[in-house]
Amino acid sequence: MTSIVVAILVFVALGALFGVGFYLNQKTPKPKGCENLTADCEGCRITTCPHHPHSTEGEKENA
């Protein structure tokens, strides 16, 4: 039983850490000159993915 309690505590701590990191990272502005820099990734064909080069041009394919 104690193991489950510890598991939950560890889990909550890690989850909160990730959440805080994610939130703070989102709030941090990109440095000057990098606002429009994105890494283009064409690994998959999900055009709605923010890393896909098509996502900025709007939906190109309407298959």
Partner: protein, 171 residues
Amino acid sequence: MNKTVKLVIFLGIIAALSGLLIGAVNSVTEPIINERLLASERENLEVLFPGAEFVPLEGASDEGGYVQSAFEVSGEGYAARIETTGYNSSTPIQLLIGFDQEGTITGMMVIQEQETDGFGSKVFEQSNIDTAYIGKTLEEQVDLLSGATVTSSAVQAAVTSTQAMIAELIG
């Protein structure tokens, strides 16, 4: 209320529920997994520790990577199945070693070996096992056997590494 706090609380609740769920599932599956891990080795373990209760130590591993599986023998000590290669590089040597609660070697069983007859194989004769291995404490190294240097030093290295792991388990 501060927004960051709110977000953390939301994620915390999700995480807590997830942790609870995983813990609950684990408490159901763990005994079944242990039983399965034991099933294949129970027969050999019973020889070294007749009538004992065994608990597999899943994460246990030694420095040299010889230990294949390790078990806690409740009230009696530990057991470890080790694998190493001696002279015959195609068939590894497999041994099951029993330790008491202080880490002294109490038993050794040969599961598999195909070392050269009359040389390497002498290491695994009962008379040699009794003198070279049984009764060695954690601080002592097991003996080498002249005339079977390759095999016995391979076993020595593996047993020394296993002893170090057992010492860590005893703490």
